[in-house]
Each structure stands twice: as structure tokens, then as C-alpha cells.
Amino acid sequence: MLFNGRHLVKTINFGEIRNLGSPIQQARVYNSRNVDELIFIDMAASAEGRGPVLEVIKGIIEECFMPLTVGGGIHYLENIQELLRIGADKISINSEAIGNPSFIEMAAEKFGSQCVVVSIDVKKINNEYRVFTNRGCEDAGFLAKDWAREVQERGAGEIFLTSIDRDGTMGGYDTGLIKEVSSGVSIPVIACGGAGKVQDIIDAVKIGGADAVSLASMFHYSGHTVNSIKQRMVAAGIPMREVTKLNNFI
């Protein structure tokens, strides 16, 4: 779930922002469909110089009985403390990690690696996978595979890896990027950006070596459900948490 401070949004290549309504209502739908985890990223927080929007995040947390990762605008340990206190399970950091890499260590030491996710945005330039910051506007100056190894050494528990080139295109994940990053680290890599059909997800796992996949457009714009996707993945030989019944508490 991508958020701009006011609405749930979807982007294409980090631009062309479309408004998709209330994140709280969407969280309720995802919970009722038993998604395995929810990732909520406030893409505007750092650019607007503000912290996480706690009121909205609280509303989302109220709807979720599954693990929740919250990212966007996290620049201080106090931000993390507050998010965990209101019920987030993990936090995701991006620009602060790039600008101040020791923040990863500080966060992991204080709260444990299991709740520290580092989000990495990548563009392919001249056949190199390069890390970008500031919502894809600025080259951070290093390669995705090198940065991934560094964040692992500094104590990150997971990597949330987004291909800016594929974001919102529904044209398939960049399996080359996923493979280059996942083969160099031992922590889980969550692939994001490009899923348009179930085979794309299967490829991200089988060819790319992703440990998990993140989906947005496929749920927003296609008829797929969590269950229909999982059934196809199980049939392709990928072990999944199968959900046989809808959440009947909602």
C-alpha cells in the first residue's frame, strides 16, 4: 500500500500518481482476504519533511490481524519506537539509511534485526543496477548488490527491493535485479515492481530467487485474489501458506 499523506495511491515508474481512495478501507479488504503481510509506505513523508502519519497508520493497524511493515518518514529512533508502540511489527527505512548508514545499526541494536527492513529503489542504467534516492530522482552513487550487502552487514533483517523501471507497469519483475541482489545476501529479499500476471510472480521466486513478493497493481486492477494467486504458485511447486477459508471474523 503506497500512501501520499492523504490517499492510497499507485504510481507508474514512480510518477503518474493515481488516487485509489482510503488506505484504511483497503487494509480491511486485504485482512479479510488473508494476505500474509501488509507493507504500508508513505512515499511523500521524507520529501515533505514530516514523520509518519500516525493517525492513519493507527487506523490501518486497527484493521490488520497480520504482520504489518510501515515505512516513510522514519529518520529517528523515536519514529520507530512510536510505530512499534502503536502496533507495527516492522519498519522500513530508505533515505535515512542512505544518508546515514549507521542508523541501520542503531535501529537493529535497539529493536532487533527482525523488525528492521531496508527499502532499496533501483534503476537500470547502462546495464548496471544503481540505487536511487529521493523517490527515484537522485542516483545514490552505488550499485544495488553492494548496498544490499552493506545493509545486511549493518543489521537489516530484510530487504524490500523495488525496480523503479517496472513499478506499476505490470510487465513482469526485473528477475535480473532480484537475482543479482538475492544471490549476494542471506537475509530475505522481497521483490516489488512489475507483477502483472501470476507467471511473473513465479518467475520472481524461481528465476530471481526472491523470498517473498509484493503486489499492488494486480490486486487493484485485475481480478486476481490472494487465494487464486497462491493456488497457482503451489501448483508451480512453490511452498505457500495456503488459506482455505475467508476470514470470517470480518
Binding site: D36, F65, P188, N247
Partner: protein, 204 residues
């Protein structure tokens, strides 16, 4: 009688998530470390995310351990320990040195032997449950959400209600009289988890 769930606040838990889950089930909830408030509980929950030494120190220094011993062992108030909250009721833990626990259950807490698998064990996993166990009544999907590196090696085999496999087979839940405990997080396990909490309110 309406259910009044007190979630013990000892600085180590995802108390907000646990509270929300019990509220969803219609129970009255209170997050507290005050013996006067704990005294009014019909059900007591010890959540937990973090390391054993900090957890047991916080329980003992605040005098909470004495209050809990009295309520759970003497008055037999229904108790649910979650994750670290389950490990703390063991006799001993070997996380960052050797530490005594509350000692309500015979057994030690030790690091999982995972043969090269990643630790912590994070994510959804299937458990194998004992048949006819009230804890799992009405549950059809036995997958639950785990986040842990240590596990309880129980010295009382007749109390184990489910096991899970990650590198080795380990205890996923137990029940001894009024004491219920889970290594997984029912408050994060959607339908199956909420059902387990409902069973706790109903049967413990």
C-alpha cells in the same frame, strides 16, 4: 460474567496488537502493570517481543513476578503467555547467559538448532496439534505467525498441545491447568489466531 483481560505491561511486548485482538472478540481489555488492576482480571496475558534477560528482569524488579505467581499459581486465574511470554514461565533460559525464569513449567529455553537455516524463524508456519485439544477447537488452518530464535524444551511432555518443525521439532504451544502458552503470535495469525484467543476466553 464479562471477560476482563489484563495484558501485562512490562516494557517487552506488542501490547497494542494483543489488546486489539481481544477487543475484536468483545472482551474488555486493560494494559497494566498495577497489581490493583491485575487483581481485577478474569484473564491475564503476558505478551512478549525481545530478549529473555530484559524480560525476566523487568518482571522481577517491578514486583510483577510476585503478583503473577499469586494470581496464576494460587488463585488459578486463566493465563496466556505469548512468545517471550511463554518462555518466561520456564525454569531457565540460556539466551545471553543462564537466567532463571518464573518456573511454572519444567524445562529450559534454548536456541533453535536449525542446520544452516536462517534465524530468527520468521513467518507463517504449519503446526501439528494434538487431537481434541480445546485450544484449537474450531480451527481449520493450522498456520500461525512466528518470530523467534529460541524455543522451550519442555520437561513435562503431557502439557504439549502442538509442535512445529524448523530445523528441529520444537514446542509451539502448551497447556497446563489454567496456564496456556504459545510460541507463535495468535494476535498476528488472522482467523486461526483470533479463534485460539476466543478459545482461551471460553475454555481456560
Amino acid at each position: 460474567m464479562s471477560k476482563r483481560v489484563v495484558i501485562i505491561d512490562y516494557g517487552m511486548g506488542n501490547t497494542a496488537s494483543v489488546k486489539k485482538a481481544f477487543n475484536k472478540l468483545g472482551a474488555e481489555t486493560l494494559i497494566s502493570a498495577d497489581p490493583k488492576e491485575i487483581h481485577l482480571a478474569t484473564h491475564i496475558v503476558l505478551p512478549g517481543v525481545g530478549a529473555f534477560p530484559d524480560g525476566i528482569r523487568n518482571l522481577k524488579e517491578g514486583g510483577l513476578a510476585e503478583t503473577l505467581n499469586k494470581k496464576i499459581l494460587e488463585e488459578k486465574i486463566p493465563f496466556l503467555g505469548i512468545c517471550l511470554g511463554m518462555q518466561l514461565i520456564a525454569e531457565k533460559s540460556f539466551e545471553f547467559g543462564a537466567h532463571d525464569g518464573l518456573g511454572w513449567i519444567k524445562g529450559d529455553v534454548r536456541k533453535l538448532e536449525v542446520n544452516g537455516l536462517r534465524l530468527p524463524h520468521v513467518g507463517w508456519d504449519n503446526i501439528e496439534v494434538s487431537p481434541d485439544e480445546q485450544m484449537f477447537q474450531g480451527i481449520t488452518d493450522f498456520n500461525f505467525y512466528f518470530v523467534h530464535s529460541y524455543h522451550l524444551i519442555c520437561g513435562e511432555k503431557n502439557v504439549v498441545t502442538s509442535v512445529c518443525q524448523y530445523g528441529e521439532k520444537f514446542l509451539a504451544s502448551l497447556r497446563k491447568d489454567n496456564i496456556w502458552a504459545t510460541q507463535f503470535h495468535p494476535e498476528k495469525s488472522q482467523t486461526s489466531g483470533l479463534r485460539l484467543l476466543e478459545n482461551f476466553l471460553k475454555y481456560a
